[in-house]
């Protein structure tokens, strides 16, 4: 089971650190990261293995959403199934 974390917003110091910190705290293993900064816009997509989470997935979602609010970023944490089912036959 994997989750996709997307982060979009104004670039700042330590975004990747904070997001991956929350993953580590929850027992999520970061598998892949793509990131780009265009002018001062930060965009990151992170693939996280959630098989061995130490908390409920919904708790991880809440923590990420709260971090987004705190940093003024748009952070979405979604189960990968939604992307797989929408975009592949």
């Amino acid at each position: 089971m994997r989750a996709v974390v997307t982060v979009i917003g104004k670039d700042n110091v330590g975004i990747l650190h904070k997001v991956s910190g929350i993953c580590a705290e929850a027992g999520g293993n970061v598998i892949e990261v793509t990131q780009s900064v265009l002018q001062d816009m930060f965009a990151m997509i992170m693939l996280v293995d959630i098989t061995a989470l130490s908390c409920d997935f919904s708790e991880l979602v809440d923590k990420m959403t709260n971090l987004g609010t705190e940093l003024g970023l748009s952070i979405h944490t979604m189960h990968e199934d939604i992307f797989n089912s929408m975009h592949s036959i």
Binding site: F57, S58, S74, H76, D81, I82, S85, M86, H87
Partner: protein, 452 residues
Amino acid sequence: MLNVYDILETIRMIQDECLDIRTITMGISLLDCIDTDIDKACEKVYSKIVDRAHALVPTGEQIEKEYGIPIINKRISVTPISMLAAACPGGDPVKFAKALQRAADTCGVNFIGGYSALVQKGFSAGDEALIRSIPEALAVTDNICSSVNIGSTKSGINMDAVKLMGQIVKETAERTADRDCIGAAKLVIFCNAVEDNPFMAGAFHGVGEPDCEIHVGVSGPGVVRSALSKYPDASINELADIIKKTAFKITRMGQLVGARASKLLNVPFGIVDLSLAPTPAVGDSVAHILEEMGLEMCGTHGTTACLAMLNDAVKKGGVMASSTVGGLSGAFIPVSEDAGMIDAAAAGVLSLEKLEAMTAVCSVGLDMIVVPGDIAPETISAIIADEAAIGMVNTKTTAVRLIPAIGKKEGETLEFGGLLGSGPVMPVRQQSAAKFINRGGRIPAPMHSLKN
């Protein structure tokens, strides 16, 4: 394999284009709650619904979080209550409505549908008493929806029921005149009603359905409009292809959510209803899709053709995305719930007659249309008869949900708020159809009902 473009497309659909799951609806059979003592029957109804559906809302919320997709409503549909009322003659059917309301409050669902009767060929025990109790039932409850099936391709149209429903619609509006006639917005009259419809106000749990099941109704007019806007010069068949691809994606999401809900609740998965259901929110309008296709305003000449293409393409795209498609499946055109329709009706471009033509090619009927408060009950009946005739002859579901705006006339507006939106009072013909309606009897089923 996931790619960045797909991920961002999904997020954009949800964030900017109002993509959502409109409803997960649990269908519950109440046939085992029948009792000759109405109070005992009501208690059984309450207990069974709460037993089956107590986890529906928390499960819906869990899925919302898991997939990051909003599920706007959690609903329940039940066996037509007239079947339970039939066992307790002389009992007041409103007691069932109150028991349903209590169950809705306990479970925290948005609506329970099924305060219904199926009378396409005639009234059986319990049917007439239930129908006559609809105005009170909808006035004393908040979250209960009612429907009556008055015709079918197989049986013809029960004109006695059509006549009665004209009076009931008017009375239901009058009983809730202090609340913008909201009662009538929770009452729908069908021809060819479907038994697995997850959408309100017409949802009920048919007798051929299993004891308990989960249906999903998807939405997403905003996504379709946005997809079309990227191809301003495409031909119509290219547009149809774009709609099909978009409908496929939307429906896959519905299938995923339904399968997940079914697993978590340990209840069989029923159907995905792949309807484009608008809301009054900006960017969530079916009318705006038609306008994106090239109409200056919805309701002008060409509207029926555009809608026919849209409805067909939605089905073709969606049908491969789901293991079981059902319900109404197509495009909805509820006037008060669609920002583009509201504008077109207020501008006088979208008329009742045009809407009637549109219902011949889309999935439902005359939906959420506000008519003058002084409308004669026979006129309402005649509108129902016209609409039922379209459904009967074309072997499709048609429905009528009219809201007589008590105390208001053409040019004024009713405000329902929320998903139900607001609607301008639309003019109706002044010439009477009373003699026709008062004849009673039945319109015989058409020739093509004899298929065996």
